[in-house]
């Protein structure tokens, strides 16, 4: 297991907190809490070690496109980049009201 932390510039605070997903094989859960800090703070706890670069790339790309400010807690059980992006999109869409 590995814990990774990232920060990305963001200017759109989410309207409300949301929780999506399950820490089940190939999936992850996302807890999104709105923050008016101008950044997206991401903490990833993943069951698979050594994918720091992939995580950075996937998250960088996501937050460049969706500049949602807040804290994002990701509890990951070996999700692929595609599933990670889908869960993050689901979280920000549900947080939009």
């Amino acid at each position: 297991m590995q814990t990774l932390k990232f920060e990305f510039p963001a200017d759109r605070p989410a309207a409300r907190r949301t929780h999506v997903g399950v820490v089940g094989s190939g999936d992850l859960e996302v807890l999104m809490t709105p923050e008016a800090t101008g950044t997206a703070r991401v903490r990833v706890r993943t069951s698979v070690d050594g994918f720091d670069t992939v995580w950075r790339t996937v998250l960088e790309r996501f937050f460049a496109r969706h500049r949602v400010a807040g804290s994002f807690e990701l509890n990951d059980s070996g999700a692929t980049p595609g599933v990670v992006t889908l869960r993050l999109r689901q979280a920000i869409e549900e947080g939009r009201e």
């Binding site: 399950v22 089940g24 999936d27 509890n75 059980s77």
Partner: protein, 299 residues
């Protein structure tokens, strides 16, 4: 008890099958909400309360924010209810210190509500392999607490257990299932004290072949368990069917004698089976139908 699987002359009703909304495909939270009356669900100790297990991270396991047990209060067919749903995708539905304490505490609170004038029923969605091995002793202790709370509550209100699938209900939590007033299963659901792989690893492949799905379902499957009286109601994997079966079970109230109290009956059934020459699973219901306690048997 009557089967609610729509079937005529042993034939599957394909129209009902195609029109259904699968209960099995929902996660624990969605299952709990789907059972309750529309708009009444309110989660207790949800993900943002962050009472995850403190024991997993030090062992290199990613925790889940609700520790794999979702507790939802609401109204079920017009009655106050609490639904305790185990998330099978997280650690195989394994019960740890936190998830077990959530289940036990919500049952105890239901007992208190009942004593204070709010007649609250409990529904347990049991998709669990039993105690989570990473928290062995603490998990066992909380399963004992769950069972104690179930015994206290079932004197006051019906408790409905649902084993829908696909994990099934095994280990310590199968004892909790056995304490429920009514146990509802689907064909896909499984119930057993020891899971197939545990039996195979402990007693050998000759005792139980854990790769033989047909054998597993012939013994542990929902149809067999309802057919032999170890569960009560067989339902189709359908949200509406499961919900109506739960509401109907609640409506029947507290049974006169709980399954787990019918000791003489179960002893007679055990006596009717020779472990050295076990009956074919398909014949068990017939064997047990003839196994009645002897007159004057006071054991």
């Amino acid at each position: 008890m009557t089967s609610r699987v729509p079937a005529r002359n042993g034939q599957t009703d394909w129209n009902a099958m195609l029109a259904r909304v699968s209960f099995i495909e929902l996660d624990a939270r969605a299952r709990a909400v789907a059972l309750l009356d529309d708009g009444t669900a309110r989660e207790l100790c949800g993900p943002f309360d962050r009472i995850e297990s403190p024991w997993l991270e030090p062992q290199g396991v990613v925790p889940e924010s609700d520790d794999g047990v979702v507790v939802v209060k609401g109204v079920l067919g017009g009655r106050p209810a609490v639904v305790i749903a185990v998330e099978q995708a997280f650690q195989g539905g394994g019960i740890g210190e936190v998830s077990g304490a959530k289940a036990a505490a919500s049952l105890s609170l239901a007992v208190r509500d009942n004593r204070e004038g709010t007649p609250t029923v409990a529904v347990l969605l049991l998709e669990t392999g039993g105690v989570r091995l990473q928290e062995a002793n603490l998990g066992l202790a909380t399963v004992a607490e769950v069972c104690a709370a179930l015994l206290e509550l079932r004197a006051l209100q019906p408790e409905v257990g649902v084993i829908a699938g696909t994990m099934g209900c095994f280990g310590g939590m199968s004892i909790a299932a056995g304490l429920c007033s009514t146990l509802i299963m689907t064909r896909e659901g499984r119930l057993g004290l020891n899971g197939p792989e545990v039996i195979e690893s402990e007693a050998g492949v000759a005792e139980f072949d854990a790769s033989d799905d047909a054998l597993i379902w012939a013994i542990d499957g929902g149809a067999q368990r309802t057919g032999t009286g170890l569960a009560d109601v067989l339902v189709l994997d359908d949200v509406t069917a499961v919900r109506s079966a739960v509401i109907e079970a609640v409506g029947r109230g507290v049974p006169g004698e709980h399954r787990s109290r019918r000791i003489r009956e179960w002893r007679a059934r055990l006596d009717a089976v020779d472990p050295a020459d076990p009956p074919d699973p398909a014949d068990l219901a017939t064997v047990w139908a003839h196994a009645v306690p002897a007159e004057g048997d006071r054991r």
